[in-house]
């Protein structure tokens, strides 16, 4: 897992899993469709990424599909980081 994926992973564990949970989460583990993160609670993850990565993710891009796995989320973040620096 690279640094960005690790950052997302650690936040998901801390924010969404119950304390003492032995559930393992990998880069391709479904988060929304499996019910680990519901769309109602997803907003805190979006806000965390925006703050930590200094980006702005428009609501229309923050779809359940885009947030369903750590892989997808990292891809989304990189896209907006790239736009930010004008790549």
């Amino acid at each position: 897992m690279d640094e960005l994926s690790q950052l997302i992973h650690d936040y998901v564990i801390k924010e969404y899993l119950e304390e003492g949970s032995d559930q393992e989460i990998g880069e391709s583990t479904p988060l929304i469709t499996s019910g680990i993160v519901d769309s109602f609670s997803m907003v805190s993850l979006k806000r965390f990424l925006e703050k930590k990565c200094s980006i702005r993710i428009p609501d229309e891009d923050a779809t359940p599909a885009a947030f369903d796995t750590i892989q997808n989320i990292a891809r989304l973040v990189r896209r907006f980081q790239a736009q930010q620096v004008g790549v």
Partner: protein, 415 residues
């Protein structure tokens, strides 16, 4: 015709998808008044079957109470059938305000505003009172109507893990830069039947300068020593800023809801809450019935005491028989089966044993948390609960689930 074949095919496919996913809901026709024993036609066209009802929100057994019916009749005669108006045009009668004042006294708040339902109260409150300078911090298991209401509001949304006070405190610290913080919770959580930790929530609210919002729909009338609600039970009566609740459950079960709390917040709803502004007034017949309900439950605690004793008895029966339960002290007693198909099959089998219960599964509850939600009423007699228990045992034995915990149940269905 604008309803094209393309449109028809689209919606047919959508409905087909709901059926395939096992999420298709079918109504069952009840041929009797709502009570602990009802007459049910299911499936459509089948002979009517008498069932013990253990899935109604008729907690105090007042949905069919003769005094409430008589008061409703009198209200119909004296104030008519409908108002043909929203409240602020020409839809407010003296009895609307009388009921609001009675609810204010009962709930221990400053003022109350009636809504067509508690769904409407929750849908309208946040947008009317909060802006993008504020933050709403909700328990993750709050009712869907609160989620909808929060989505309609421009204030920042955040959530905390169910009843996790450390997580809530972290969120309150994180949002100290916002103008107003509002902690949002159910009083009794409708799917699990557990109570919010309102004493701790109020302490945190005072420490971090936050307001507290409680939806007490599954508590008003019976939780707490005199049935005032979760705030009474938790020793914080008079310290909740906003309570929303319903007339559609314990308080007669017809319809209607309210926002009750700090008078300025209630007034903001009267000025700005769209479901209040753009819906007809609650019908006079319902207002008259609800006034009688409040009179009945303010005079004595007999019904809520019987409900408490019934719920304890039912929980004990289920436990002794080896069912896996969610712990709690409310009349909502979830029997955990974890698997969606098992929960549906179990409920169907119960029906054929003349017990009416419903299986709940994703998306109503989290995946892997399917259950039969049983709800006890003061209208239940012990013999009816014993009858229902025999059916539960028979069906439980048939499915081989008695004495099994979560791991064993999941292993059994191969999950």
């Amino acid at each position: 015709m604008a309803y094209s074949d393309i449109a028809r095919n689209h919606f047919e496919a959508e409905l087909g998808g709901i059926k395939t996913a096992g999420l298709f809901k079918q109504e069952r026709y009840i041929h009797s008044p709502q009570f602990s024993e009802i007459e049910v036609e299911f499936p459509e066209g089948a002979a009517v079957r008498k069932c013990i009802n253990i899935c109604a929100n008729n907690y105090l057994g007042l949905s069919n109470h003769p005094d409430v019916i008589a008061a409703a009749h009198a209200g119909l005669d004296s104030r008519g059938y409908g108002m043909s108006s929203v409240r602020f045009i020409c839809g407010t009668q003296d009895i609307h305000r009388e009921l609001e004042n009675r609810l204010t006294d009962f709930l221990g708040t400053e003022d109350t505003l009636l809504f067509p339902s508690c769904m409407d109260a929750n849908a309208g409150f946040f947008e009317a009172c909060l802006t993008d300078q504020d933050v709403m911090i909700a328990d993750r298991l709050v009712h869907a109507s609160i989620v909808d209401g929060m989505r309609l509001c421009k204030a920042i949304q955040d959530t905390y893990k169910h009843s996790d006070m450390n997580h809530l405190e972290n969120k309150l610290q994180e949002h100290q830069d916002k103008r107003f913080r509002m902690i949002i919770t159910d009083g009794v959580f409708s799917m699990d039947g557990d109570l919010a930790k309102l004493a701790e929530i109020v302490s945190l609210a005072e420490k971090y300068n936050a307001m507290v919002f409680v939806d007490d729909s599954h508590a008003t009338g019976f939780i707490g020593r005199t049935g005032r609600g979760t705030h009474e039970h938790c020793g914080v009566f008079g310290r909740i800023d906003v309570i929303t609740t319903t007339l559609g459950k314990a308080l007669g079960g017809a319809s209607g809801g309210c926002v009750s709390g700090r008078k300025e917040l209630v007034e903001m709803c009267r000025q700005r809450a769209r479901p209040y502004l753009f819906s007809n007034a609650v019908a006079p017949v319902i207002v008259a019935g609800a006034l009688k309900v409040l009179e009945l439950i303010s005079n004595n605690t007999e019904r809520r005491d019987k409900l408490e004793s019934n719920a304890k008895y039912w929980r004990g029966l289920l436990k002794t028989s080896g069912f896996d339960l969610k712990e709690g002290e409310s009349p909502i007693v979830p029997v955990m089966l974890y698997d969606a198909k098992l929960a549906q099959d179990f409920a169907t089998d119960l029906f054929y044993e003349s017990v009416y219960a419903v299986g709940f599964f994703f998306p109503v509850v989290a995946k892997g948390q399917a259950r039969i939600r049983t709800q006890i009423s003061a209208a239940h007699e012990k013999r009816q609960l014993d009858f229902a228990m025999e059916a539960f045992k028979k069906v439980g034995e048939g499915h081989g689930v008695l004495g099994l915990g979560k791991k064993e149940l999941l292993a059994k269905v191969g999950a």
